[in-house]
């Protein structure tokens, strides 16, 4: 049955205007339009979103967990890259 199973799509949802889309899960669907419908039914039943993106899982290129040390560790000791030396004014949300 593996070859007759619908392809997998990753689902990204924006929960409200101004925020960015976040990955929430995946659905099976025969094409992108159907994936959008399925994502709507599976992930926004309780008003979780105002916008949905879907992308074929096979179209995503992911970093390799085995290379994560080489990929990410060099950033760990570069504290000056973090904006921690700024004071965030009151009233600024979603930063």
């Amino acid at each position: 049955m593996t070859d007759t199973e619908w392809p997998l799509f990753e689902v990204f949802i924006r929960s409200k205007s101004g925020l960015s889309h976040r990955h929430v899960g995946s659905v099976h669907a025969a094409d992108a339009a159907m994936a959008l419908d399925h994502a709507r039914d599976v992930y926004t039943r309780r008003s979780e979103g105002v916008s949905i993106w879907v992308a074929r899982s096979s179209d995503l290129t992911a970093s390799n967990p085995a290379e994560s040390a080489a990929f990410f560790d060099p950033a760990d000791d570069k504290i000056y890259r973090h904006p921690t030396f700024y004071e965030i004014p009151d009233g600024v949300e979603n930063i």
Binding site: V27, A33, M34, D37, H38, R40, D41, V42, R45
Partner: protein, 254 residues
């Protein structure tokens, strides 16, 4: 028989409730039997939308009647001759293509009907219709895509989808064959004009069938009788299953 406007409004609301309830019961039969998990959920969502609509229509019908009947009384304590739903909606689910075809034929009509009801001078019906039409527009988007996929899919899916549309076609005439209740709503409350809706429906259906590479059947003999409570043999079984619990344990609650 002549009916007054108040009775006509009650009857109208009740019929819309019957349509919604019978269709939702049919769709609920598919729960745990969908072709794919996601499609299963899509179908159950549609069924739930219809239960919600049935509740609103029945509540309103009960209020107009003024004898204290609740939405549950309408759903569970009437026999099939008292149901006045369209025959199309009580037809068995058949295969997936049959279910999709039944739904596209009905919901294309229903969306147009609700659009017209939003403009009518019965504020409650207009309010319910405004809410329902959003749900129905989404159903149509989803279901039409399916009809196109099936019609324009493989040779087998094309043949079967065409057969589904052909075999259900004789139930479509009833949607536009209004009686005096429909006429009263139209004349007294600016309600839906079924003739105009029929024309729109033909255009809409022609477009989706065309995209699905399916041909539109010729109008032949049309079945009917739902408005008079005369049904196909399928409704009795549907009602029996739906009402079994309430009939066995009257007043059962949870």
């Amino acid at each position: 028989m002549t009916v007054d406007l108040k009775t006509a409004r009650q009857c109208y609301a009740q019929r819309l409730g019957d349509n919604a309830l019978v269709l939702s019961q049919r769709l609920i039969e598919l729960v745990a039997d969908g072709p794919e998990l996601e499609e299963e959920l899509a179908n159950a969502n549609i069924a739930l939308d219809y239960i919600g609509q049935a509740r609103m229509f029945y509540s309103y019908a009960g209020e107009l009647e003024g004898r204290g009947r609740t939405e549950d009384d309408f759903a569970f304590l009437r026999d099939s001759p008292e149901f006045q739903n369209l025959l199309l909606l009580e037809q068995p689910n058949g295969h997936f293509g049959d279910t999709i075809a039944r739904q596209v034929l009905f919901e294309t009509f229903y969306a147009r009907l609700l659009d017209a009801l939003v403009e009518c001078r019965d504020p409650r019906l207009a309010e319910i219709a405004a809410r329902a039409v959003k749900e129905v527009r989404y159903h149509l988007r989803h279901l039409s895509q399916w009809l196109v996929r099936l019609g324009d899919g493989t040779d087998e899916s094309h043949t079967r989808a065409q057969a589904s549309v052909d075999s259900l076609w004789r139930f479509t005439g009833e949607m536009f064959a209004g009686d005096e209740v429909d006429a009263l709503l139209r004349d007294e409350l600016d309600g839906p004009d079924l003739e105009a809706i029929h024309a729109h429906w033909r255009t809409d259906i022609a477009a989706v069938l065309d995209e699905a590479t399916l041909s539109m059947p010729e109008d032949g003999w049309m079945d009917g009788g739902g408005r008079r409570g005369v049904h196909t043999e399928h409704l009795g079984y549907l009602i029996a299953e739906m009402q079994h619990l309430q009939r066995t344990y009257p007043g059962a609650d949870w």
